[in-house]
Structure formats: structure tokens, C-alpha cells
Amino acid sequence: MKKSWHLTALVLLTLASGLSRAEPALLVIGHPLDQKPLQLNQEQIRNLFMGIPVARGLKPAGLTADNELHFLFNNEVIGLAEARIQSYWAQMKFTGRKSPPAEFSSEQQLLDYIRQTPGAIGYVSADIPLPQPVQILLKID
């Protein structure tokens, strides 16, 4: 009896650990440039979305601020709060230094843009099917 209780607990724990292993919530994706796969680490993706050029031909694009993924991306990839990012872009814009990434109002619009634009980089939720030739650059849990 005691043995079967241990077995049940073990099965439940295994199931629970499987359930708690969260699927990625967000994927950073890109369209290969010159038909070569893109290779960017998180720091480079962050730089790109902060207006720092990383490589020729890369085009960052995001979602508008009313989208939950926008905040998740800012928190997890950029590593800054929304208000600080808005302040940063106000400074860049009114000193003529940099322009913010293009913005789309829905994931589908953003995905369509990335699918059609070589060098485009953006982010979508993990459960959205990715068309060819879009590739995954980074997974955020």
C-alpha cells in the first residue's frame, strides 16, 4: 500500500514537473537576409530594437503599446520598463538621433511583414504557426 502511494506521488510529481515546464511565451523571429540564416544573440537583438545598428539590412519591427507581447518583449529582451523606453525614444526623436522600430497593431500584420521582408526582425507569441522562411532567433519563457 505504502509502495503504491509512493508510485502515485512520483507519477503526479513527474506530471506536475512536465506541466510546469512552461512553453516559451514569446519568440523573436526573423527573415533571413540574402538567404542566409540570421545569427543574433539577445544583446544584439536588444541593441537593434534600441536603434543601435547591428548589421546592414536588419529591420526591427514590433507591436503597438496596447499589445501584451510588447510589454513582455520590453521586459524580457530589452530589459527596461515601458515608461523608460518611451522616455528614451522621446530623447532620440527630439534630438534627431534615432528612430524607433516600425510598429504593427496585430501579430498577424507583424508576421506578414516579416515573412515578406528580408532582414526583418520581430516577435510573436509561441503558439502562432510560422511560415517559411521565417526563423526563430530567441525563445523567451
Binding site: 544583446e43 543601435i52 546592414r56 503599446a65 523608460r84 518611451q86 522616455s87 522621446a90 530623447q91 534630438t95
Partner: protein
């Protein structure tokens, strides 16, 4: 308490109207033309009956730092754009008009060239000083940001950015000239200045959310101070050459700066240091710095900032020393005038402790509240101005006051 209710109402009506216009304009902005802008409404009160700071006195005022700006940009091609920034300040002592007008050319993402009338990027926020939304304070530390000698220049700058897997480097260089008013210790003095050969370099290194900024700016200064002209003429006519030369405001100015900042999703830390060196006897060396730490709580953030400035002493010539205590001498009035001119030059230092709150209550808008305790650690820091007639001994007293401010920031 004096409340500029008329101005507040006018501003509110104006801003409401502008909000509608901006929404309409933005909706109709074409790919080639873009109109954006920013506004701030700032109110302040200084709890001192005897002194003013930054134009604030012991009555609530909305007209010292409130402003409205429009920025039209014409994209002439994918690489070439013409940008203007038209600014309307509520305060007469601040400059209104065309603050920026430049042509920018970006042949590739790493390179940017701009030419025209530009802001001088002495410190991290000097070129966005009017855009209150871009920084945590209502008034950035006056010890640095209100000691800007020449806030704009006409010329060109070039910047190059390189980024690798772990590090990004940006190098910016500028060359140009400045002609206009001069600011010393936050006050626009009655002087016309020309700075030629303005040269500057800024280096920015960033890794993750850590950023280091090093800067050096220099220029050959020629300033004419109208108030000193009669004294200078008299010194020249009496052959007091050393004294005359010591009042000449000609020479090289060099500004050295360093800044370090770190920020993440929940906190931010920033420190900046500057040293301003001149070849002019009557313009003492200024060293200023600040350190700031802040915490974010959702849409709210709070910060504590300490700032300090210290002037070196300006040393007058000693030709007239023998006559300053001899009222019977015919040279006594000249000596008195000369030493009085030197006595008016700031030689002290100012400490400030600021507690600030910011609420980003909606996208592109923020409300702020700020309390700043200003204390001179050495008398005559230059940041306090007498609100009432005072005797000369007041310049030997350490001044202190508290500045209360509230602000509304908007970018569109």
C-alpha cells in the same frame, strides 16, 4: 500666493486644441512629412523671501519652465531629412524661436551626419533639456544642466556606431561656432559671446543596460560684457594693464565630462561629472557632479538625487590693491569698481538634495512632483539671486532654500 490662472487656462485650452490638431496631423502625416512635438507645464515655489533660484521665488509660478515645441521633419529621401524645432518658452529669460534646424544624412545605419543649428551635447540630457518627458527630474541638476555655456551651435556633427555581440560603441564629433547670450551658473548674463572653433567628441560605450559616456568639448571664446565696458575703458586709460587684461573675457574654454548609468526593469542609477576650464581670469574653473538612484513601481517611479558644484576662486590683479582701502586716493573709485566686479564672480558651491516622483499615467504623458533642498556649502555659488536689495556682506552668507515643483510632460 500668485497663481497664473489666466495662463493656466490659456495653456490648457491651447494644449487641448493642440492635442486635437496633433491627432489630426499625425493621422494625415505622409511618409515624406512628419510633425511631432512636446510640451511641459511646470509650476514651482521657492520658500525664500530673500533669494530667487532659476527665476522661482516665494510665490507659485507656472511661467518659468513651461514650453511648447513643434518639430516638423521633411524626409527628402530615405537617407536625407530636414528637421526644425520651433520652441515657445513661457519665460522671457529663456530663448524662444528656432532652436534646431538641420539637415541630416544617413548613408548607412552606422553613420549619421547633421549640419545646421544643433544643440550642444555636453552632457547626457543637454540636447534634450527642453523635452522634460525624456528624463526623471522636473529640473535636472542645475549644477550641471544650468551651467551650459552655449546651448546651441551652428556647424556639423558626425556619429559612427559599431556594435558587436557584447558591446556597442558610438563616437560623435562636432565642429562649429556659437554667437549669442552666455549663461554662467544658471543665469543668462548681459553679455554677447562668440565661440569659434567649437570642437567636441563624445564616446558612448554600452553593454547590456550599462552605459559609459566620456566627452570633451572646446572652443575659443570672445565675450563682451556691456556692464564692464566703462570700467575696462577707465582701466585702460589709466594704464592699469594687468587689471584691464584680467577683465578680458577672451580665451579657450574646455569642458570635460563623464557619465555612468545603469537601468533595468525596476531601478535606475545615473552619475555625471563635469569640469569646465577656461583661460580667462574672471571665469573660474567649475567642477560639478551628481548621483541619482531611482526605483520603478509599475507606472510610478521615484528618485533621489544629490548634486554638487564648486567654483575655484577668481584671482584679481594686484595693481589697484593699495588704493581699495584709501578713499582719499583719486584711484579709489576705480579700485572699488574693479574689486567689486571680481566680488560678483561666483566662487562658492551648491549642494542639492532632490526627491522626485513620476507617474506615467498614460502613453506619452507623465506627471511629476519634485522637492529640492538647495544648500550652499560655500557662499556665493552663483545660483541664488537676491530678490530684494541686500548689502555686500550677503555674498558671504551660505544661502539655502527649498524648491517645490510639479510638472506635466507630454510628447506627441
Amino acid at each position: 500666493m500668485r497663481i497664473y490662472s489666466g495662463m493656466a487656462l490659456t495653456s490648457a485650452a491651447m494644449l487641448t486644441g493642440l492635442n486635437m490638431i496633433a491627432a489630426d496631423v499625425c493621422a494625415n502625416t505622409s511618409d515624406r512629412f512628419e510633425l511631432s512635438g512636446f510640451a511641459r507645464l511646470v509650476g514651482g515655489y521657492l520658500d525664500s523671501h530673500q533669494q530667487t533660484v532659476e527665476g522661482y521665488e516665494n510665490s507659485f509660478a507656472l511661467d518659468q519652465q513651461s514650453l511648447l515645441a513643434l518639430q516638423p521633419t521633411w524626409h527628402l529621401s530615405d537617407q536625407l531629412a530636414l528637421t526644425a524645432q520651433l520652441l515657445a518658452h513661457s519665460s522671457d529669460s529663456r530663448r524662444s524661436g528656432v532652436e534646431w534646424l538641420y539637415l541630416s544624412w544617413q548613408p548607412e545605419p552606422a553613420w549619421q551626419f547633421r549640419a545646421g543649428k544643433l544643440r550642444t551635447p555636453f552632457f547626457s540630457f543637454s540636447d534634450s533639456l527642453d523635452v522634460g518627458y525624456s528624463y526623471p527630474w522636473i529640473t535636472p541638476p542645475v549644477q550641471l544642466y544650468n551651467s551650459l555655456l552655449f546651448p546651441t551651435f551652428k556647424g556639423a556633427n558626425a556619429s559612427y556606431t559599431w556594435s558587436g555581440p557584447d558591446l556597442a560603441v558610438q563616437l560623435e564629433g562636432l565642429y562649429g561656432y556659437y554667437k549669442g547670450d552666455v549663461v554662467m551658473a544658471g543665469s543668462r548674463i548681459d553679455a554677447q559671446t562668440e565661440v569659434s572653433n567649437m570642437t567636441g567628441f563624445n564616446l558612448n560605450l554600452s553593454r547590456n543596460n550599462l552605459r559609459l559616456r566620456l566627452s570633451w568639448n572646446s572652443g575659443d571664446n570672445h565675450t563682451e560684457i556691456a556692464r564692464l565696458q566703462p570700467l575696462q575703458d577707465a582701466l585702460q586709460q589709466t594704464g592699469m594693464d594687468d587689471s584691464y587684461n584680467s577683465l578680458q573675457a577672451d580665451g579657450k574654454i574646455q569642458v570635460y565630462g563623464a557619465g555612468l548609468s545603469y537601468e533595468d526593469v525596476s531601478s535606475f542609477y545615473r552619475a555625471e561629472w563635469v569640469k569646465i576650464d577656461t583661460e580667462m581670469d574672471l571665469a573660474p574653473q567649475l567642477t560639478s557632479w551628481y548621483a541619482s538612484a531611482g526605483q520603478l513601481f509599475g507606472r510610478w517611479s521615484g528618485h533621489l538625487t544629490f548634486a554638487r558644484s564648486s567654483y575655484s576662486s577668481a584671482t584679481p590683479a594686484d595693481e589697484l590693491a593699495a588704493f581699495r582701502d584709501d578713499p582719499a586716493s583719486p584711484l579709489y573709485p576705480l579700485a572699488a569698481g574693479y574689486y567689486q566686479a571680481y566680488a560678483n564672480i561666483p566662487r562658492g558651491g551648491l549642494d542639492s538634495y532632490t526627491l522626485g516622483l513620476r507617474w506615467d499615467f498614460r502613453l506619452n504623458m507623465a506627471l511629476k512632483a519634485e522637492l529640492t533642498e538647495l544648500r550652499e556649502h560655500n557662499p556665493h555659488s552663483g545660483f541664488f539671486s537676491p530678490a530684494v536689495a541686500m548689502d555686500d556682506s550677503s555674498s558671504n552668507v551660505k544661502q539655502r532654500a527649498t524648491l517645490y515643483q510639479i510638472g506635466w510632460e507630454w510628447v506627441f
